[in-house]
C-alpha cells in the first residue's frame, strides 16, 4: 500500500518567515492533494497537483509536484498567524477509483 511521509512533523516559525513542508510517497504519485486543518475542525482543501513539475499558488502558499522524486513541497511565503494549523498531504491510489492515502500531517505554529 502507498505510504506518505511528511517532514517536518512540526514546525515553529516567526511571523514573516518563509517555510517549506515536504510530502514523500513510497509509490508513484497519480495526484497529490494538500489540505489544512485547524485544531478541532475539518480539513480545508488547498490545492491539487496532477502532473510532474506542476506548480500551483493560492495567496501566499505554493505547492509543487516532483514526479521523479515522488515528492511534493508546500511553501509558505511571509508566514502569518492565520497560517497556523496542521497541513496534510493526500495521494490518489491507482486503479481508477479514489482511495486517498493521507500523511500524518505537519503541525505549524507561527509566533507573532
Amino acid at each position: 500500500s502507498q505510504e506518505l511521509e511528511q517532514s517536518p512533523q512540526s514546525l515553529i516559525v516567526q511571523e514573516g518567515k518563509n517555510l517549506t513542508i515536504n510530502c514523500t510517497s513510497s509509490k508513484t504519485l497519480y495526484g497529490l492533494y494538500w489540505y489544512k486543518q485547524k485544531y478541532g475542525e475539518g480539513l480545508i482543501f488547498l490545492m491539487m497537483l496532477q502532473k510532474g513539475g506542476e506548480e500551483k499558488s493560492h495567496e501566499k502558499i505554493t505547492a509543487k509536484l516532483d514526479e521523479k522524486k515522488q515528492q511534493s513541497s508546500l511553501h509558505i511565503t511571509a508566514s502569518q498567524p492565520s497560517h497556523a494549523g496542521i497541513y496534510l498531504c493526500g495521494a490518489d491510489g491507482a486503479g481508477g477509483y479514489q482511495k486517498v492515502t493521507f500523511g500524518i500531517g505537519t503541525k505549524l505554529q507561527v509566533i507573532p
Binding site: 478541532g40 482543501f45 496534510l88 481508477g96 479514489q98 482511495k99 486517498v100 493521507f102 500524518i104
Partner: protein, 112 residues
C-alpha cells in the same frame, strides 16, 4: 464551502453500546467516505459509498458498518463500541472518484 454536516459533533458513550454517526450533504455528490483520524496514524478510510445502497470497505472497516439509503445521507454505525474506536470521525464527499474530496467538520467520539 461544501455543504456537509455531521451529527452529532461530540459524543461520549460506554463500551458495548451501539453508536450511529450521520453525514449529510447538500451537494448531490455521488461518492461519500468515512474516515477516522488518530494521533500517529493520520486519516484512515473506514468505508465509502459510490451510490445509493452501494458501499465498500476501506482500510480499517472491522467493527463498523455503513448504510446509504439516500444520496444525501451516509450513516456510520458502531454496533458495539469499544475504547479503540475513540477517535475523530470525518465524512468526505466527491462527485467522481478522481475528484477532490471535501470534508465535513468531524465528530469527536469518546468510548469509555
Amino acid at each position: 464551502d461544501a455543504g456537509i454536516t455531521q451529527s452529532p459533533r461530540h459524543k461520549v458513550t460506554e463500551t458495548g453500546t451501539p453508536v450511529t454517526l450521520r453525514c449529510h450533504q447538500t451537494e448531490n455528490h455521488r461518492y461519500m467516505y468515512w474516515y477516522r483520524q488518530d494521533p500517529g496514524h493520520g486519516l484512515r478510510l473506514i468505508h465509502y459509498s459510490y451510490g445509493v445502497k452501494d458501499t465498500d470497505k476501506g482500510e480499517v472497516s472491522d467493527g463498523y458498518s455503513v448504510s446509504r439509503s439516500k444520496t444525501e445521507d451516509f450513516l456510520l454505525t458502531l454496533e458495539s463500541a469499544t475504547s479503540s474506536q475513540t477517535s475523530v470521525y470525518f465524512c468526505a464527499i466527491s462527485e467522481l472518484p478522481t475528484d477532490t474530496q471535501y470534508f465535513g467538520p468531524g465528530t469527536r467520539l469518546t468510548v469509555l
